[in-house]
């Protein structure tokens, strides 16, 4: 049997090159890939919103959206259509240029991160040898958007939200980075596809690295939740304190960009966790190893959704931290633990204690 995803892409590739000159075909391919990713981006974002609303409903004895289409599956699409058709409104004294620029920072940062995702062996936009580093670098651009948006809104609530997002993201980026580094130490490579291949023989990294890997995973989940500004770290939006935080003044599609980016960022964090700890597209215990036609992307998506469900579980059960507690947690607990953990991992690798 042949590999279905691979055969689709090769067919399109061959067909494009057969009907047009080489340069034009390449450019067309680039555009096609970009469009495919954009579509994926929008669909993933929209359906994560729906999933979140459904999960919230399950937690709270509600039904959740159930009017638009069966089980409300078209609800978020209807919401998106409404947001697209809405007037983009801003108050008079905003800094027009920065105000309009801010949502793009956020959305572009999330979109760029998606390029290096190893959905499956054949389905990865851009397999660079510094994949982890790239992901990490690009995902930190988003915070500029939040800061700029909060500042340009000319609203004190937005400003407080933006300052909070700045200090939160900058602090927790350290923990995310260090916990990723712990795992990179184990794999010895920054390339995402290779990190996954390492796990084909030795088992998932969370088992290979046992104690330090589990600690790294827990820190990564905490810091990752904080970096996506989700509860219990949603101080940036903290609706009971700041109204809506940095995006108080945004409306229509600009608001939708912030909103979608939050969900895509959650997807990104979950994906990094899956790649670094749970074997990416690899099946558990290699149960679909021999089946060549089996779409490996399915495993990737299933694992990502498990992690996302975990993050949603956090959100709907935990209260929110206070801003100084947020910083205490990072600088006094997570960061020192993380550094010790990094050394521990190095020692374990040096003594060959990995499983």
């Amino acid at each position: 049997m042949m590999n279905i995803p691979l055969s689709i892409t090769t067919t399109i590739h061959d067909w494009l090159f057969s009907i047009m000159p080489e340069g034009a075909a390449t450019i067309t391919e680039w555009v096609l890939i970009a469009v495919a990713y954009l579509a994926l981006f929008a669909v993933a974002g929209l359906y994560l919103v729906l999933l979140e609303r459904k999960v919230a409903a399950w937690f709270q004895f509600r039904l959740g959206p159930n009017r638009v289409g069966p089980w409300g599956i078209f609800q978020t699409i209807a919401d998106a259509l409404k947001l697209v058709s809405k007037e983009i409104y801003s108050n008079q004294k905003v800094d027009k240029f920065l105000f309009n620029l801010a949502p793009y920072f956020v959305i572009v940062a999330s979109l760029m991160a998606m390029a290096v995702f190893p959905f499956s062996k054949q389905f990865q936009g851009f397999d660079i040898n510094i994949g982890v580093f790239f992901l990490f670098a690009v995902s930190s651009i988003g915070v500029i958007g939040l800061l700029v948006g909060g500042w340009a809104s000319n609203n004190k609530y937005s400003l407080i939200g933006a300052m909070r997002s700045g200090l939160q993201t900058i602090s927790y980026e350290l923990s995310v980075g260090l916990s990723i580094l712990t795992m990179v130490l184990l794999t010895g490579t920054l390339q995402l596809s290779e990190i996954i291949e390492v796990q084909r023989t030795g088992g998932w990294l969370i088992f290979q690295g046992h104690i330090p890997a589990v600690i790294a995973f827990m820190i990564f989940m905490i810091a990752g939740t904080a970096e996506t500004n989700r509860a219990p770290f949603d101080l940036v939006e903290a609706e009971s304190e700041l109204g809506a935080g940095f995006h108080t003044e945004y409306s229509g599609m600009q608001f939708a960009y912030f909103f979608l980016a939050e969900f895509i960022n959650m997807f990104i964090i979950a994906s990094i966790a899956v790649v670094l700890f749970f074997g990416g597209w690899l099946s558990p215990f290699g149960i679909t190893e021999g089946i060549t036609w089996f779409p490996e992307v399915l495993w990737f998506v299933i694992k990502v959704f498990m992690i996302i469900l975990l993050m949603m579980w956090f959100r709907w059960t935990f209260p929110r931290l206070r801003v100084d507690q947020l910083l205490t947690l990072e600088w006094k607990y997570l960061l020192p633990i993380n550094m010790v953990n990094l050394v521990l991992m190095a020692v374990i690798i040096w003594l060959n204690f990995t499983l």
Binding site: F61, S240, T317, R320, V323, Q325
Partner: protein, 372 residues
């Protein structure tokens, strides 16, 4: 460190409006905040956004009608508010209501208190960012509302008590449904404890926040669970028993710490006490008339009359100054929310914005009660 900040970096206090439309205000309370970064320097409550001059309207209305206005003050303890006016009028007329009325009023008051505290619990979680608590609390509050609806036909503005007794007799299902509710709530309250009370983030957010000393609580005239959270013995049900409170056994929830968490614990404990009061009374509601006949137009004797009751938020006082006509010459409500609000600036200074939200949640403000 502070020296360095003062010398090197120029900081500036700024002013921000929290409300009248703000998610944490639960109504139209406007707080004028002076903030330095995140630190609160001054809180200045600005009232009047929902002032309906209820006290002035009372001077126009007959005593039966006044009862109906009191629902609109603290709408979460409407039975208790109704009871305050009824008791004041009965006191003035020297009217002794039947035992059946007293017991039913006590049960209704306590169910109201549970409903009010449940809503507060849900909203407290929501203010601190745990959105799920709200729906859990509403599930149980809904059961109480259904019980009320069956007997008196209303879910929020009850108007069940009238001077001299009750509007209608109990619904035949009442006793069974209350018993079923008691079973459910006793199962659910420990669940809620596991969801929120034990949560480490919740405890960090509330312990040691908004310290209110016993002396301050007394001097600011703070009453209700807020004062009892600071160790002030002030439960009107204990100090000046009314209805049938003198014949039930219950403990006054008193905790000495005076922080947000102790106010939280006091309310949780009060719910348990209310459950025990209802349990003691539900099986032996005496037979008898549900109202003592009064004249169609009630005229109070000349003089001043005062009645205090314990609502879910604290002490509600009704002062009636009568000149012997069918309307009061002056009617004054001493509402618990207003005095409790006065202490807000004192205890939230120096905290963060997040602390202010937690403190406000622990005070359980109902704005129409503050403004009237």
């Amino acid at each position: 460190m502070e020296q360095l900040t003062n010398n090197k970096i120029k900081t500036e206090e700024y002013f921000i409006n929290m409300g009248p439309q703000h998610p944490a205000a639960h109504g139209v309370l406007r707080l004028l905040l002076t903030i330095d970064g995140e630190i609160i320097k001054n809180v200045d409550p600005d009232l009047g956004y929902i002032h309906r001059s209820i006290e002035k309207m009372c001077e126009r209305d007959s005593y039966q009608q006044i009862v109906h206005l009191t629902d609109r003050m603290d709408y979460l303890s409407s039975h208790i508010n109704n009871g305050a006016v009824c008791l004041a009028v009965e006191k003035a007329l020297q009217l002794e209501v039947t035992d059946r009325v007293k017991v039913i009023r006590t049960i209704f008051d306590e169910l109201t208190r549970i409903a009010s505290h449940l809503l507060w619990w849900g909203v407290m979680g929501m203010d601190l960012g745990a959105l799920t608590t709200y729906f859990y609390a509403f599930r149980d509050r809904e059961m109480i509302n259904d019980i009320f609806e069956e007997t008196c036909g209303a879910r929020l503005t009850m108007n069940y008590y009238i001077p001299g007794g009750l509007m209608f007799d109990l619904h035949p299902n009442f006793v069974n449904r209350v018993k079923k509710f008691l079973v459910d709530i006793k199962e659910h309250l420990p669940e809620y404890d596991r969801l929120l009370t034990g949560n480490v983030i919740f405890q960090k957010r509330t312990k040691g926040i908004g310290m209110l000393s016993k002396e301050d609580a007394i001097s600011y005239g703070v009453t209700g669970p807020v004062a009892r959270g600071s160790g002030v013995h002030c439960d009107v049900r204990k100090t000046h028993p009314y209805h049938a409170y003198d014949r039930v056994n219950f403990e006054e929830a008193l905790l000495p710490e005076g922080d947000t968490f102790s106010r939280y614990k006091v309310r949780i404990k009060e719910m348990w006490e209310s459950i025990s009061i209802v349990e003691q009374l539900i099986d032996n509601i005496p037979e008898g008339d549900i109202k003592v006949p009064t004249k169609a137009v009630i005229k109070l004797p000349k003089g001043e009359f005062y009645q205090r009751v314990e609502t879910a938020r604290g002490e509600l006082g009704v002062y009636i100054n009568s000149t012997g006509t069918k309307n009061p010459y002056r009617l004054k409500f001493r509402s618990p929310g207003f005095s409790n609000l006065s202490v807000l600036n004192h205890i939230s200074k120096g905290g963060k914005i997040g602390d202010l939200v937690a403190i406000m949640a622990s005070f359980d403000f109902v704005i129409p009660d503050i403004d009237r």
